[in-house]
Amino acid sequence: MSEVIVFVIFAAVALVGAISMVSARNPVYSAMGLLSTMFSLAVLYVVLDAHLVAAVQVIIYAGAVMTLFLFVIMLIGVDKADAYGRQVPAQRIMTFVVAIGFFAAIALAARSAWITGSGAFGDPEMNGTIEAVSDELFGTWTIVFLSTVMLLTIAAVGTIALAYFGAEVEDEEALL
């Protein structure tokens, strides 16, 4: 029963956070909404025995990613005039139709069973501890883990390429 209570509370927080993220006029409040959703999801991960994921969620997502977001919001200034759906009148109606339609389609399609896969392959006693996850991560998934080097190199190189405005920019004059 306690699980139900925890779920209800944090699901509600997650939903409220998400909705406030979408609807807040001030991007800072949007970021705060997203942050609260992420924290509630971390709690739900713990309930689901996904301890490592929960930790990473808090550290990386809530910690690093959201900080970066807030930093950029502050950098480019809070643009309070950003009202949503003003320029395109049909956009708002379309948005609701799409969002509700999307949810309804999934819920309808899944109304009898979410999971059709047989659980026979899995380990019912599985627990997402750091050991269990790292066994898998550095066993089966080693090569994928290593491949993220490429992703991170791209991120680093790309960020420099895009955001570093040094003297090199002048070189581009030759292109035009």
Binding site: Q87, V88, Q91, M94, V98, G101, F102, A105, L108, A109
Partner: protein, 623 residues
């Protein structure tokens, strides 16, 4: 000798190459003789194997050249059977005479060698087309014919009308080519091969009626482009902007016959699609009638002949449509002789009159150019359908076959009879106005008979025009038997008794004579009837069909493209614009959807995603 068939195609190709690259050095007239020699050599090589078919001791054979697109099982193969042999004889025989004639006609042109290079290329293309053993090779020939006709029609490209005519021919033919391409795709889809042998051998079992109808209608679209049928005939009258030998080549021996030949080749498929047959026959008859009516009013000697070609092609298409393939091919053959003769004769006249083409300014040429007069006289009687000239037999056979179908086909037969009257009328008009009566020349005209290189072809063609019809009379069907192996056992038209045949023939003959008599009385007078105003003017401009195309297809296309982008006017001229207009306006209507706003794109992406999810779940039965 059958093994040397590939030489028939190769020699003119070599001739074309030699004249193209070395022409300037060889110079006139030797390059002309090289061109003529190449085609004549092809003719000689083909004669002996052809006689084998006549003797009845040869079998059709295919000649493998090289493996072309192995993955589709397409080989470069030539098919040597009576039909292709016949066409080869026409193309090389009449073609050689036209080459010979051109040596005289093109005398002094600064691009003389280039002209013979193009002529040879034209002949080679046409030979590829007729000798093809599968649709893929045929298509290559088909395209090459289109290309070389474009080169030849706009040979005097400095003349704006010639350049425009070349372009028009090119564009209208592209529409037909699309039909051919799509038909080929369907054929491959149905048979998995382009090979005539397999397709015609298995078609009755493989092809559904729907599929056969689709394929044959698309093939007909292609044929309508090449063989100038409604509504794609508009390029042909303009095509005489090219040098006259080119008109003769295009109108008689080569290009326009390609469509009829292709349909005859595909006879097995047309047999499976009765609906197509009806449509083909109707359009053929309608084309014949319309073109004949327009021909009556023309004053330019070459335009009369151009419209008469369209009209005669209408007959051939009618023949194919009613299933009388032999008759269609027979008329094609006789027409090749007399129409080549008519054009060469007209060229001779124009040559003599220093370029004058208006018949109102001719007259009385009989004395000045007797050879031209006599040979053209033979052609005149032949095309009018006078017994026993060749045109009488072939035209009569088509009409008889149409009559034999009964029912609604009587109407088409009636149209055919009307066309026969009109044909006799306008040809008599042409003949009388040109050769008889008082001279009406301009003061500075000094008509004279043409040189021997031009008259010899006239005489040879004249001989064939007079006699060739006797090859296939209703009472002596040697032509029919000769072609039999090519039509894979399609039955001949049945249901005609000898009495009926004779009376039908008499009807045709009587109406032809009537047409001649009426025209004779009208034009064999000193004061020519005034033919202006009202009906005459409208018919003179072809009932403004070109204008109509201009107004309904070309002009809106132009306007839309000018709005959208002016560069487009260069791209497409003429009829193709019509198709483009519809598609373009759809595109213009869709442009605002591409608003440039990320959110709109995201919205459309999301809507499409939801739609896809819903459809997938519905299809999969998940709801």
């Amino acid at each position: 000798m059958t093994d040397l068939i590939w030489l028939v195609v190769a020699i003119p190709l070599v001739g074309a190459a030699v004249n193209l690259f070395l022409g300037k050095r060889i110079g006139e007239p030797l390059s002309g003789w090289i061109g003529f020699g190449a085609v004549a050599a092809s003719f000689l090589i083909a004669v002996e194997p052809m006689l084998g078919f006549f003797a009845g001791d040869s079998e059709p054979s295919t000649h493998f050249l090289f493996s072309w697109i192995p993955v589709l099982g397409v080989n470069a193969e030539l098919l040597w059977d009576p039909l292709s042999a016949l066409l080869t004889m026409i193309v090389t025989g009449v073609g050689a005479l036209i080459h010979l004639y051109s040596i005289g006609y093109m005398h002094g042109d600064e691009r003389f060698p280039r002209f013979f290079s193009y002529l040879n290329l034209f002949i080679a293309s046409m030979l590829i087309l007729v000798l093809a053993a599968n649709y893929a090779v045929m298509f290559v020939g088909w395209e090459l014919v289109g290309l070389s006709s474009y080169l030849l029609i706009s040979f005097w490209f400095t003349k704006p009308t010639a350049a425009a005519a070349g372009k028009k021919a090119f564009i209208v033919n592209r529409i037909g080519d699309w039909g051919f391409l799509v038909a080929m795709m369907l054929i491959f889809a149905a048979f998995g091969t382009f090979d005539f042998d397999i397709i015609f051998g298995t078609a009755p079992g493989v092809l559904s009626v729907t599929m056969a109808t689709a394929i044959t209608l698309l093939l007909f679209v292609a044929a309508a482009g090449k063989s100038a049928q409604l509504p794609l005939y508009i390029w042909l009258p303009d095509a005489m902007e090219g040098p006259t030998p080119v008109s003769a080549l295009i109108h008689a021996a080569t290009m326009v016959t390609a469509g009829v030949f292709m349909m005859a080749r595909s006879a097995v498929l047309f047999e499976l699609a009765p609906v197509s047959g009806g449509i083909v026959a109707t359009i053929g008859a309608a084309t014949a009638l319309l073109a004949a009516v327009i021909a009556v009013s023309q004053r330019d000697i070459k335009r009369v002949l151009a419209y008469s070609t369209i009209s005669q092609l209408g007959y051939m298409v009618l023949g194919v449509g009613v299933g009388a393939y032999t008759a269609g091919v027979f008329h094609l053959t006789t027409h090749a002789f007399f129409k080549a003769l008519l054009f060469l004769g007209a060229g001779s006249v124009i040559h003599a009159m220093s370029g004058e083409q208006d018949m109102a300014k001719m007259g009385g040429l009989r004395k000045k150019m007797p050879i031209t007069f006599f040979t053209m006289g033979a052609a005149w009687l032949a095309i009018s359908g006078i017994f026993p000239f060749s045109g009488f037999w072939s035209k009569d056979e088509i009409l008889a076959a149409t009559f034999a179908q009964g029912g609604a086909w009587y109407l088409l037969w009636g149209i055919g009879i009307v066309v026969a009257v009109l044909t006799a009328f306008y040809m008599t008009r042409l003949f009388v106005l040109t050769f008889l009566g008082k001279p009406r020349w301009d003061a500075d005209a000094h008509p004279h008979e043409s040189p021997a290189s031009m008259t010899i072809p006239l005489i040879v063609l004249g001989a064939f025009t007079v006699s060739f019809g006797l090859v296939n009379t209703p009472f002596r069907l040697s032509f029919e038997h000769f072609l039999e192996p090519s039509f894979h056992g399609i039955p001949h038209v049945e249901g005609l008794t000898n009495v009926l045949i004779t009376s039908l023939a008499s009807v045709t003959l009587v109406v032809a004579i009537a047409g001649i008599v009426v025209a004779w009385r009208r034009y064999r007078v000193d004061e020519l009837p005034v033919e202006v105003g009202g009906w005459w003017d409208r018919a003179l401009v072809g009932f403004g069909v070109d204008d109509l195309y201009g107004r309904w297809i070309v002009a809106p296309g132009r306007r839309a493209s000018e709005l959208a982008s002016r560069a487009d006017a260069v791209v497409l001229d003429g009829a193709a614009h019509g198709i483009a207009t519809g598609v373009r306006s759809a595109g213009e209507a869709l442009k605002p959807v591409q608003s440039g706003r990320v959110r709109t794109y995201a919205g459309i992406l999301a809507v499409a995603a939801v739609a896809l999810v819903v459809v997938t779940v519905l299809v999969g039965g998940g709801f």
